[in-house]
Amino acid sequence: MDGFLDLAPLLAILASAIAAVAVPLTGEKRRNLRETWTVLAAVVKFSLIAMMIPGVLAGERYGMDLLEIAPGIGLSLRVDPAGLLFATSASFLWILTSFYAFGYMRGANEAKQSRFFSMLAACLSATIGLCFSGNILTFVIFYEILSVATYPLVIHSGSKKAYEIGRQYLIYALTAGIALVAGLAAIYAVTGTLDFQPGGFLDAEMGMPFLWTVFLLFALGFGVKAGVMPLQSWLPNAMIAPTPVSALLHAVAVVKAGVFGFVRLVGYIFGPELFGAMGAATFLAILAAITILVASLIAITKDDLKARLAYSTVGHLSYIVLGIAILAPQAMLGAAFHMITHAAMKITLFFCAGAIYVHTGKKKVSQLDGIGRQMPLTMAAFGVGAVGLAGVPLVGGFVSKWYLGVGALDAGLSIYLWVFLLSGLLNAAYLVPIVTRAFLRSSPDHTRFNEASPLMVVPITITMLFALLLGIHPDGVFRFFSLAEAIVASVTGVTFTGGI
């Protein structure tokens, strides 16, 4: 079994890579067969990943070195709690997104569906690849593939505006990519190694100019995908992609790849101690705190539903970055867990926005009066996601925010506690009115019950339940909480007993 599980990370990457090829070969004419490939790949991928959870929690590190690709550096796959946490959530949500996307793409009668599903599968391969990368080179390779594979999805509509946005997207993504390559070259030239190590492998003797150069290159590289201001502007624009892309890639896989990069950077390259001592933590924390507040304020002003959600995403990604930069074990725990809870809540919200659009053609918040009567299930799910993001107990968001706040206090940085609290209020201010408007106001457009296709409503319900479960029993779903604890334990050496 263990021998097989060493292969599991590779197989998990290949599963969707095969689908990425099989989908366009099958083609639009046999679309049910084509969709079968996606579902098959998603289920196989998730199963392979989920199978590794017990072993990894018990201390196993599955993986293999594939082939040497540079002197002393192999293409190396290594499964640790951090990668597994992210991979599990991304691959689980891909299953749901697949079904949702069948409903969405058929409902909206989108063109080029084969290309769409193929590239989506390719993105997932790259995401899982970077989760399981054992060294920086492997990570960067998958990170770059992810950037490029997302481009056809961003320009999907083929409109002039889409191409303009695609161009901006590429400029940001490729700049980020080359910054990472530069950073890894610098690290390799000085240390001769690129392997991630819990607690980091750089040390202060390498000199501040070098360390800051490396930090800034990596912060640029990860900050773009993580939407840390001032690098965020591509993300709201990228909402021009079909909603399943916004939901899975621009709320979960792609943007969290940036956040995950920060986890690797702080926990496995620099190490929290050095990261704090050199002052990079303060720098990053201030940027993240500003991003949280500014993004929340901008979100309030947006009438376009997806744009509002996009700015909300920008803010919440920085929750995670801030949690990492606070460096206190509790805050890291909260940050790691927020990767999951935010994914569950935000994908629910995007799913809802897409269902509303496909079903009624409405995109703006101001048009949603009374829509709760027509689509009560969708809007109820939206409500759960909304209060969850605001930090109301019994939804996952509360748990992660709790630990983020406690961590800020532990570290003696109570200012960041206020940032979290204030932002919670702002979250409520930009999300809850949508729900009240939907249920309390009335409109002649929406009088009788008429939900979107079950292909969309069922995934929405499941992600909503996922978000709730995370709040009620944080360790109940795929042991996410334990994985988060294991990350903190491996990076800082602090273990938690009891949990919630």
Partner: protein
Amino acid sequence: MSQLPALIPTTLILAGLLSLLVGLRSLRAGHLIALTGTVVSFLVSVIGLLEVTSSGQPIRYALGGWIPPIGIEFVLDHLAAYMTTLVTGIGVLVLIYAPRSIRHESPGKAALTYPSMALLVAGLAGMSITGDLFNLYVFLEIAALAAYALLATGRRGGAFATLRYLLIGAVGGGFYLLGVGFIYFSVGSINMADVAARLPELLESRSVISGAVLMVLGLALKMGLFPLHFWMPDVYTNAPSSSAALIAPIMTKVSAYAIVRLMLDVFPPGFFTEALPIAATIGWMSAAGILFGSIIAIGQQDYRRMLAYSSVGQIAYVGLGIALANPIGLIGGLLHIVNHALMKGLLFLIGGAIQWRTGLVRIPDMVGLGKKMPWTMYAFVIAVLAMVGIPPTAGFFSKVYLMIGAVQADAWVWFAVIVLSSLLSAIYFFRMVEFVFRDVEGAEESADDSATGGVSAEELRGAVAGEVPPSMFIPIAILSAAVILVGVFNFLIVRALLEPAVAPLLGG
């Protein structure tokens, strides 16, 4: 087996001459002879490569039985085997591709083209394996003459561009020859190994220094190193696609290789870096060339001109590798020789395929090609990803090695140039990807803007749809696969061939 090195150029020269004679009567037979000769020399190169890597020893051959250093010596070592395999391999692919393309672009010139191609490859392969400074000049001129012939068969303007190239090429060759003369006068030998053995006592000699500078200057001209690149854009733009696809990938590279040869195996370690600032000069010329080539390429509307300026930038990566003069940087530069040859060859072949199918050469007119020739355009995307340096294509790794080398050499400006240039090349290549995959509604708009002389390209070619024939597509497919495979397995090449080749840098 010791005749093996000699077989590579002689087969090609024979095939070239025979192909010329036979080609006057039967084009098809002439092509077949040139192709067969190239295939044979490619196979011999591969055998030589395997031989050298398994034994770890170079294969030496004394021409005509004259013992070196008096006679001419061929030396097939790791680096030479690497180059000949590349040169003859590209030659095979282009010769497979050429007939259709030539019939379309320069009908009536085919009889001259195939022998010239074989002779060009012969010259370049000869430059790669020769162990003799003067003999290198001879092969350099064989290659140059063949290249002039190939380029001059192009459309109007081709002849003038070629004349200019010829004059500059003659100057470059002249400088090199003059340098060899200086070396001969002061050292008394032109056999590379022999010169290398005698040089250490004569390093202070002014004529040795002048000789080194002249040889490098001549080769730098031939290599098209900025600002000595000015002949390149016109030449590549006006040449027939198949000629450009043969010359652009390999010709400048072999001159770069010759500089590496001089640095590693003729002059003592440190001579190019410490005694004379040759490496640093090459480095700054390269850094400027990378930026210049990439920036000018952005403004080009003509596909081939864009590729030409991109080549000005790309050859400079090899130059940077030479300039870094540390093992990993030089490995990056040498690896980029193969990487860029594959990518640029692929791009020129695709350009020829587009011309064959649609007659288009201007990028704004290429809107909607993704629908017309999807497979060719997928190959184009692979080439673009490689040019920009997206993993796991070949282009990524040479850049990584060069960057590591730059950090180790504390060359932060060059480091920044490499970083920046990836982004610049992304700009001009992705712009084109955007064009070719855009839907045709957009096509009408931009066809109006671009003013193609009142006649839209669609009308010109009667809106033909479909791919190119197999003889053109197979080389494209092979090169696309190679771009990815060389990327994924680049380390095998590095370990087997390049690490032994740069060993003199470590031994210094």
